[in-house]
């Protein structure tokens, strides 16, 4: 990694260094009771290597559909998704999707979950990685605990650790903190930023939480209501750690609310 620890706190979003993921003219049509229902229309997006992108938009607009198409779980009706200039044809361990909740396997311990994707590695390497990611997501002491005995926040950290353990280039997160209480959610954002800054993965993060998007993202992609198009892409030009009462933060937040059509309404 070219980035050193010392540079991280003052990090400003890098100009895009090489395109990691390219979405071109992506369209998605569902078939509902024999009627074609367009969900996504002509989505074009370039994501840089190591970039943190948030996808926001009205409820039910197709954010998750877009994420699933990029992760290879859905094949687009038209257009294409390419990662490293290679067309995405299906799910792949090089890019892991993290679900909103209940994504961890309840029949495996914390260690078993983190090691789930590592069965091909030699035992020593597997154990080293498990230990590393247990530490990364701060689950030390819970190695042999089953998910039913973990809190919601711990389960999501476990899911992130399981994803990171297979060393993916891209993490797709589908409202990963949506089911958590608001205090845990704020803590989890900090944890995710810390992990992103040390692990340097490309992250695509779907959220319906405006603050979450402005706090985390390098760029926020705003989708319109269904059929969704990209309405605007907002660059969050504030260095981490972000002061959430700074004028620039509030300005960007207002801009985002205005884009979604909710500014000054409450």
């Amino acid at each position: 990694m070219p980035q050193t620890e010392a540079e991280i706190p003052g990090r400003v979003p890098d100009p895009i260094q090489g395109t990691k993921l390219r979405v071109q003219h992506l369209g998605m049509t569902y078939d509902r009771d024999g009627q074609a229902m367009p969900v996504l229309e002509d989505i074009n997006l370039d994501v840089g290597d190591g970039e943190f992108i948030c996808l926001v938009g009205p409820s039910g607009c197709g954010k998750s559909t877009l994420l699933n198409a990029m992760a290879g779980f859905l094949s687009p009706t038209s257009g294409s998704v390419a990662i490293d200039a290679e067309t995405v044809k299906g799910p792949d361990p090089r890019r892991i999707l993290v679900f909103q909740e209940r994504g961890v396997f309840p029949w495996l311990t914390v260690e078993g979950n983190i090691g789930f994707g590592l069965s091909k590695l030699p035992r020593a390497e597997r154990e080293r990685r498990i230990a590393h990611y247990v530490k990364t997501v701060r689950l030390e002491g819970f190695e042999n605990t089953y998910p039913s005995d973990l809190s919601g926040g711990m389960k999501q950290r476990l899911q992130v650790a399981r994803a990171l353990a297979v060393n993916p280039d891209i993490l797709f997160l589908d409202e990963p903190f949506g089911a958590l209480d608001s205090i845990t959610r704020v803590i989890m954002r900090g944890e995710l930023l810390r992990i992103w800054q040390t692990e340097r993965r490309t992250i695509l993060f779907v959220t319906h939480d405006i603050d979450e998007a402005v706090q985390l993202a390098d760029r926020v992609v705003v989708l319109s209501s269904r059929p969704a198009r990209i309405q605007q892409i907002l660059t969050i030009d504030i260095a981490h750690p972000r002061n959430i009462s700074s004028p620039r933060y509030l300005e960007l937040r207002d801009e985002l609310l205005k884009q979604i059509g909710l500014a000054y309404e409450i």
């Binding site: 892991i96 994504g103 029949w107 495996l108």
Partner: protein, 260 residues
């Protein structure tokens, strides 16, 4: 004591013991008051158990019955679980075979006894076959529905980590369906124990079922009949109790929280 109050430790044993004692008392005095010469009193039965144990037939019969259950039930597990996983996974296969399964399933294993004797002759194999038939369907049905209720998220996650279909079945679908499969297997074990007794009355000449029918036929020893019945009940309870221990294992307990 209200139903919400937690029973004290001694109460958990005290009341069941009282209930058993009451049953024995009712039984005893019914025999005394009606003056029956045929039906045994609890004391006669106790002497009957002692007599059977003394002659060593009891242990041999218990051993034979348990062995047949182990073979038939074991065979049902070994065949039923993979078959059930496959049917649950492959809806085309399920649609093809489901009518056959649904027609065979309601046929009591007892009705199969003549057929079993044609197939295997009088002997162990016929009894094991009956036990197998009785326990196969609950396991099969539990597997199919267990697979159907695997959350799609688990399958997606498994695929995302690069698992092939056989790996996905072994590492995601099976463990996810296991709590339900265990419930089916427990029901199957109960049925296996019912069926082995019935099968032994006709198809073989050993085991607890044979002991019941033989005690009646050779000298109308109803004390021995009831003694054998009692052993059947106690061993059945023991089997269920041992099986329930499996459900406490942590890797399945997550799915059995609201199962009794």
């Amino acid at each position: 004591m209200t139903s919400l109050a937690k029973p004290r430790a001694w109460e958990r044993f005290f009341w069941p013991v009282i209930a058993v004692a009451l049953l024995l008392a009712v039984w005893h005095y019914s025999v005394v008051w009606t003056g029956t010469k045929v039906f045994p009193s609890p004391l006669d039965v106790e002497k009957g158990v002692a007599e059977l144990a003394h002659k060593h037939v009891l242990w041999a019969d218990i051993g034979d019955s348990l062995r047949r259950v182990a073979a038939g039930f074991g065979l049902a597990v070994v065949i039923g679980i993979p078959l059930g996983l496959w049917l649950g996974w492959n809806s085309a296969a399920n649609q093809t075979l489901n009518p056959v399964i649904q027609i065979l399933r309601p046929i009591s294993p007892i009705a199969w006894i003549p057929v079993a004797i044609i197939f295997f002759g009088v002997g162990d194999h016929a009894a094991i076959f009956l036990v197998f038939l009785g326990s196969l369907f609950p396991i099969l049905i539990a597997c199919v529905s267990g697979v159907a209720s695997v959350p799609p998220i688990y399958r997606s996650a498994g695929r995302n980590f690069g698992l092939s279909t056989p790996q996905l079945l072994a590492r995601v679908v099976f463990p996810s369906a296991l709590p339900q499969i265990l419930i089916g297997a427990r029901i199957a074990l109960g049925i296996a124990w019912l069926v082995v007794v019935a099968g032994e009355m006709i198809a073989v000449d050993s085991g607890l079922g044979y002991l019941v029918i033989d005690s009646r036929n050779s000298g109308k020893r109803y004390d021995l009949v009831v003694a054998a019945m009692l052993m059947i009940g106690i061993i059945g309870l023991g089997l269920d109790f041992s099986f329930r221990r499996l459900e406490r294992i942590k890797s399945v307990r997550w799915g059995l929280r609201d199962a009794s």
